[in-house]
Symmetry: C2
Subunit: 371 residues, 2 copies
C-alpha cells in the first residue's frame, strides 16, 4: 500500500464532522463559523490528516502563493547570495519560490517564464536587467498579467517597472575617487564577455567618473576576455584575470591601477601580476567587485566594492510583492502607474590591494622582479 493514497477532501471532513462541505470551506478560510462547529471540524480535519489542496483553491481564484525567480547565470558571482535573500523573504511572506537559471540563454528565459505563468505564479522576479534580448520574456509575463520585478544595473528606466537598482554608477564613482586620491591617473579595466550586463555598465560608469575629473581610460587599458563557454566556472574567471594581467602589464605603457568586473578576475590579475614581478599595491593597485570570500583571503586582501547580495535578493521580492498588491487593487492603468524603485549601493571596502601611485609611473620602465 505504497500507492499514492487518495487525497482526503473537504467532503471527507464534512462527513466525518457531520456538517456540509461548505461549512468546512468556511472553516478553512475562517469566516462566519461558530466556535463550536469550528472545533468539531478542526478535530475531524486533524483526525483525517486533512490538508486543503492548493490546486483546487487556486482554481477558484485564490492566489497560488508561488513566486518565480529567474537568474541569468553564475556570471554574477553574488547570485547565490541573491537567491538566498529572495528565497528567505519569499518564505517569510508565505510564498514558495520557483528558481530557474537560464545560462544567459534568452530563449530559455521566455520558455521558463511561460512555464511559470502556466503554473499561475503570483509574481516573477528577474535578477537581470531588461537587456533587449530578455525583453520578450518580461513582455510575456506582463501580458499575462503577472507582476514583475527587475534587478537593474543603473537608474535608467527604473521608474518604468518595479525594480531594484544596483547602482554601478555610484560604485564606480567611489572606486574612481579612491584611486584618484591615491594619485592614480592611468587606470585600466578588466572584464569578460560573460559579464553581459554588469561588465559594460561598470566600464561606462568608471569612464564617466574619470572624465568628470578630466581623465579617461584609453582603449589599450581595457581588457575584455572573451571566454563564454557553455558552463562557466569560477576557475575560468580567475584565468580571465590572469590573462588580463599578462595583457595590460606586459607593455611598458601600462596602467598603475585597474578595476575588475568581479573579485575573481581581480584575484587572478593579482596573482599573475605578482608572478610577473609586480608588487601589489606598490607597483599596481587593484580594485575588485562583489566582496566574495576570496577578497579577504587574497594576499594582499582585496580592495573591493561590496555588493549586499542577500539584501538585494530580499528587496527584489519586497518590491515584487508591493507591485503585486498595487496590481491586485486594480488601480493600475498601464503607463501611468507609479512603480517602486529601490536603489542599493555597492560600498567601497578599502583593503591592501590599493595604494599610492608609484613615483615614476609615467616612465613606466620598472624592471621585473622575482616575487
Amino acid at each position: 500500500m505504497n500507492q499514492r493514497r487518495r487525497r482526503v477532501t473537504i467532503k471527507d471532513v464534512a462527513r466525518e464532522s457531520g456538517v456540509s462541505p461548505a461549512t468546512v470551506s468556511n472553516w478553512i478560510n475562517d469566516r462566519r463559523i461558530s466556535p463550536a462547529t469550528s472545533a468539531i471540524v478542526a478535530a475531524a480535519a486533524a483526525r483525517l490528516g486533512y490538508r486543503p489542496s492548493g490546486l483546487a483553491r487556486s482554481m477558484r481564484g485564490h492566489p497560488t502563493s508561488i513566486l518565480g525567480l529567474i537568474v541569468p547565470s553564475v556570471t554574477n558571482h553574488s547570485m547565490p547570495a541573491i537567491v538566498r535573500g529572495a528565497e528567505d523573504r519569499a518564505s517569510e511572506a508565505g510564498y514558495l519560490l520557483f528558481v530557474s537559471n537560464i545560462d544567459r540563454d534568452w530563449e530559455k528565459a521566455l520558455e521558463h517564464t511561460l512555464a511559470m505563468v502556466d503554473h499561475d505564479v503570483d509574481g516573477l522576479a528577474y535578477a537581470f536587467s531588461v537587456s533587449t534580448p530578455a525583453d520578450p520574456a518580461i513582455k510575456a509575463a506582463r501580458e499575462a498579467g503577472v507582476p514583475v520585478s527587475l534587478l537593474l544595473p543603473s537608474r535608467a528606466g527604473s521608474d518604468q517597472v518595479a525594480s531594484v537598482v544596483l547602482d554601478n554608477a555610484s560604485a564606480m564613482e567611489d572606486a574612481a575617487a579612491h584611486l584618484w586620491e591615491l594619485g592614480h591617473r592611468r587606470i585600466g579595466y578588466v572584464s569578460m564577455t560573460a559579464s553581459t550586463n554588469s561588465g559594460p555598465e561598470r566600464l561606462a560608469s568608471l569612464r564617466l567618473a574619470l572624465r568628470a575629473r578630466g581623465s579617461d581610460i584609453p582603449d589599450k587599458f581595457v581588457y575584455i576576455d572573451d571566454v563564454s563557454p557553455p558552463r562557466f566556472t569560477d576557475y575560468e574567471a580567475i584565468e580571465c584575470g590572469r590573462r588580463g594581467a599578462a595583457f595590460l602589464l606586459s607593455k611598458p605603457d601600462r596602467p598603475t591601477a585597474i578595476c575588475a568586473v568581479t573579485d575573481l578576475l581581480a584575484v587572478g590579475f593579482l596573482q599573475a601580476a605578482r608572478e610577473l614581478g609586480f608588487r601589489v599595491p606598490e607597483d599596481v593597485s587593484i580594485v575588485g567587485f562583489d566582496d566574495l570570500a576570496v577578497a579577504r583571503v587574497a594576499s594582499p586582501p582585496l580592495t573591493t566594492l561590496a555588493v549586499p547580495g542577500y539584501a538585494l535578493g530580499q528587496t527584489l521580492i519586497d518590491v515584487l510583492l508591493e507591485a503585486a498588491r498595487a496590481d491586485g487593487s486594480g488601480h493600475g492603468v498601464g503607463s501611468g502607474t507609479p512603480h517602486t524603485t529601490h536603489v542599493v549601493s555597492a560600498t567601497l571596502v578599502a583593503r591592501g590591494s590599493t595604494g599610492p601611485v608609484p613615483e615614476r609611473a609615467h616612465n613606466a620602465r620598472r624592471g621585473r622582479r622575482r616575487p
Copy 2:
C-alpha cells in the same frame, strides 16, 4: 486595462475553431485527432494566444511537473553548485523546481515540505541526510505519497531510500593516505558546530582511516568552533579557522597536519598559522574540503577534497525522477522496494598546502618566526 486579464480557456478555443472543448483537449494531448481539425484548432489557439492551465490539468490528475529541493543551509559551501546542478537537470527534464532553504531549522523543513506537498509536487529532494531531527519532514512526504531522494553523508542506510551518497569515508581515507605518505602521524581536525552533518561524519571517517594505520586523533587535536549564529556567513567560517589555528598551534604539543571540514576554515587556519609564524607546509600541512575558488587562490594553494557539487545536484534529481517512475508504475510495496543509490566521491587535489612532516616534529618546540 492592466487588469489581470481573464484567461483564454479551452472553450474559447473551441468556439473560435468551431469544435467542441473535448476536441481541443484531444488536440492538447495530441491523441485521436485528424490532421485537418488539428490544424484548425492550432490556428485558433495561436490566434487567441491560448495556453493550457497547468492548474486545471493537474486537477484532472496530470502530474504538476514540479519538483522541490530542500536545502539545509549555507553551511555546506558546495550548496550553490548543488542547487545549480539540480535546477539544470530538473529543467532539462521538463520540471520546474521549488527551492527552499531551511537554515538548519528542522521545523521549517516540515513546514516547507507540507507547503510543497500541498502544491502537489511530483517529488522532493533533500540535500541533507536523514538526521533524526529532519525525519518528520521526510516521513510526511512519504506518507503523502511523494517520491523522495536524499543526499547522504555515508553509505549507511542508503539502500532504504533513493539517494546520492557523498562518500566522506573514502574522501577522508584519501586525505589520511596522503598525509600518512608524507610522514604525518600527529594529525588534527578543525570544524564548527554549524556543520551539522558533514562535520562529525568527516571526523569519524578520518579517525577510522587513521586507526586502520595504527594511529588516532587525540581529543586535544580536535577543534570544533561552536559558532552557529542565525545568519551564518563565509566570513565567520574563515574566523572559525583562525580560532582553530590559535587553539591547536599555540601549545608545544601540536599536530603537524590538520584537516578542515571545509576550505573556508582551512584558509582561515592557513592565514592565522602564517601570522603566528608557522610556515605552510613546512611547519604544518593543511587539507581543506569542497575545492571552492578560495582554495586555488590561497597562498600556498590549498590541498583539498574536491566535491563535484554540480554533478551531485544533477544526480539527486536523476535519482528522484527514477524513484518517481518506479513509484508511479505501482509495483512498489513498501519496505521491499529496491532503491537507487549513487555514490559520488570527493577527490583529493594535492596542491601547495601539504608537504612532508617537519623533521623534529616530535619535539614540537619550533620557535615562532616572522612570516
